[in-house]
């Protein structure tokens, strides 16, 4: 279907089902149950799942295929956000021109930064991209304040021109982002018994865009261009002596992945029209590296899984505080309850970074192919159980 083989079509349909049904899937617990805090099906978080999924899919085109580890991709995310907010300030509150401008601007920045950084490979390339991103971050805080509004961040105001829209609505407030009138914040709530499911316009826009760019990344992976990128990762010497110029290939991959990042940045701003410099900081660049590796670098679906996993941790796991723990272990004798709470507490709530760090180490050491490899091992194990034979449980197939 659509020029894809059966496996890729299945995967695309799977991702489509997951994203379209996310409001149900992420809200498995009734609203008044004790487990409701593990529900992730609210618009703000669902939007972030798919937006960072897009970011990671793009990053994976560079890192997963060519092996060039960029440590500065958040710069393009930031550029995308600033561009989108400027579009909301100057032109109109429709998200389409804002998203288009963020993709284009991120592409231009990626072309400049990539052109210089790709003169080196390996650790030197990583350091160069990190340096450029930190430079962008610091510039956004200091000399570029007229464009970025420094520490406060770029926000909409009542006296923005908005030449194709209105500066303020009839009741004197700032207009909201929309898609030809459909407000991004508009949410339809469906109550089914004790459950409440939320369907948000902004989320579905992001989800549809995710599906489109996921499809695009499948096509890139399976194309001659994708094969050349894999060849860059495998052996640049042989490429050069096979008459292939590696520079334009890596630069094209860098620009494409930069544009994915810009798209993600533009979508972040479209859901919530403000942009701050911290979006460009090295921690944000590092986060997308974690997502890609955790999910499975070089695999198609891995980065999406990794992004969802990390965002879930960041938003849900971090909410488990001491009183929640006490309510969990409340049925136990007091001494035991306190002991368990003391033992578990460092790993949840504000300690979620530690749990994530431990998980990351475990994945890198035991599952170098990320969550995707984990899934494949489980499937292989189940199959060998079913077959009743003693087939090896691990698989050496490329994780795609």
């Amino acid at each position: 279907m659509l020029g894809m083989n059966k496996n890729d079509t299945t995967m695309l349909l799977l991702v489509a089902a997951l994203t379209m049904l996310a409001p149900f899937i992420l809200n498995p617990f009734p609203t008044d149950s004790g487990l409701a805090q593990f529900n992730a099906g609210y618009p703000d978080l669902m939007q972030r799942f798919v937006i960072f999924g897009i970011f990671a899919i793009g990053f994976n085109i560079l890192f997963g295929l060519t092996g060039y580890l960029s440590f500065g991709h958040a710069a393009f995310l930031g550029v995308g956000s600033y561009s989108a907010v400027w579009m909301f300030k100057l032109l109109a509150m429709n998200v389409i021109p804002a998203i288009l401008l963020s993709v284009v601007m991120a592409g231009v920045f990626a072309l400049l930064i990539g052109y210089v950084s790709l003169r080196r490979s390996g650790i030197y390339f990583s350091i160069l991209t990190l340096a450029f991103a930190q430079m962008s971050f610091n510039l956004a805080y200091s000399v570029l304040t007229p464009i970025t509004n420094g520490e406060t961040g770029l926000q909409l105001s009542l006296d923005d021109p908005r030449v194709l829209g209105v500066s303020q609505t009839a009741d004197g407030s700032i207009p909201v982002t929309n898609l030809f009138g459909l407000e991004m914040r508009s949410t339809f709530e469906m109550a089914v018994g004790p459950w409440a499911f939320q369907f948000n316009a902004g989320y579905y826009l992001c989800a549809l865009i995710l599906l489109a760019v996921f499809y695009l990344s499948i096509r890139i992976f399976r194309s001659p261009f994708g094969l050349m990128l894999k060849a860059v990762k495998s052996n640049q010497q042989r490429m050069n002596y096979t008459g292939l110029n590696t520079r334009p290939y890596t630069l094209a991959a860098f620009v494409i992945s930069g544009m994915y990042a810009g798209l993600a940045g533009g979508l972040l701003a479209s859901m919530d029209p403000l942009a701050g410099a911290e979006r460009m900081q090295w921690t944000a660049s590092g986060e997308v590296v974690l997502m890609t590796i955790l999910g499975g670098a070089g695999t198609l679906i891995g980065p999406v899984l990794g992004a969802g996993f990390i965002k879930y941790f960041e938003n849900i796991f971090s909410k488990i505080n001491e009183s929640v723990l006490h309510s969990w272990f409340g049925a136990l004798p007091d001494g035991l309850e306190d002991l368990l709470v003391t033992l578990v507490y460092p790993f949840v709530g504000k300690g979620w970074h530690m749990t994530l760090g431990i998980l990351f180490v475990l994945v890198v050491v035991f599952l170098p192919g990320g969550l995707v490899e984990g899934g494949q091992r489980v499937t292989a194990w189940i199959r060998s159980k079913k077959a009743g034979g003693n087939k090896p449980t691990s698989t050496t197939e490329p994780a795609e």
Partner: protein
């Protein structure tokens, strides 16, 4: 006039004169061997031919065009393919993919942005790669990971990859180094077959005299960065200067 003309090439590394006034002419459709003791400058000369090094003085002409100052990929696109001492292949990719990449390079040039069409829809490339795999007796290994091939098969694959670009000059850097006798003989047979069946010039750097005398139409002996003598194999064997500089060392 040969297809490859090297004139007055000098190359210094600090105080070391690696190549001193090297002249070399490789005739079209011949097999030309370059031999010499360790440190004679064979590899330096080869690197000057493929663009990895630029000579301090002198000229290197391929088919009437200078190769100096061009990047390795440009020189390759002119029609010079190189086989490395240790097989350089795309280890993480399948044998078939390895064979398709040079076919793409031949058809599309140094860079082509085809990011939407599927690899599997490139019928001409697939047909060509499959034919070359058949020629190399590797058709049954097409789905294998290239890294898991045996040393001899890696060598065959690399030679096949070079041939699928239809080069006019094939450079081989000690193609049988580290190979068992049987693999060496297979490689000799393969190279003989290539030179007989194809319209191709082969230049080979080799230590193994068995290989050199089985293949070469002409031999250049390098010693201390300068060509000592250039002649046909039967004359090289008896040449006292060569015996002293090279063969004498081992015998």
């Amino acid at each position: 006039m040969g297809i490859l003309e090297v004139k007055g090439v000098n190359k210094r590394f600090g105080g070391l004169q690696a190549l001193g006034d090297v002249n070399l002419s490789v005739k079209e459709n011949s097999v030309h061997a370059i031999i010499g003791p360790n440190g004679a400058g064979k590899s330096t000369l080869l690197n000057c031919l493929v663009g990895k090094l630029i000579p301090d003085t002198g000229s290197v002409m391929f088919d009437g065009q200078s190769v100096l100052g061009r990047a390795p990929y440009e020189i390759n696109q002119m029609g010079i393919s190189r086989v490395f001492q240790t097989p350089e292949i795309f280890g993480e990719l399948s044998v078939m993919e390895n064979m398709m990449i040079p076919c793409f390079a031949k058809r599309d040039g140094a860079f082509e942005m085809n990011a939407i069409g599927s690899v599997l829809s490139q019928k001409d490339i697939i047909a060509k790669a499959e034919e070359m795999l058949k020629d190399m007796n590797m058709a049954d290994k097409r789905h294998m990971n290239a890294a898991s091939l045996s040393r001899g098969d890696k060598r065959r694959l690399e030679i096949g990859m070079c041939l699928s670009q239809e080069p006019r000059l094939l450079l081989l850097d000690e193609p049988t180094a580290g190979m068992a006798r049987a693999d060496t003989n297979n490689t000799i047979d393969l190279l003989k077959q290539i030179s007989d069946e194809r319209d191709i010039t082969i230049a080979i750097i080799e230590h193994d005299m068995h290989v050199v005398f089985s293949l070469a139409d002409r031999i250049t002996v390098l010693a201390q960065g300068t060509p000592l003598v250039e002649d046909e194999p039967q004359n090289i064997r008896g040449n006292p200067k060569v015996r002293e500089a090279y063969l004498g060392e081992s015998g």
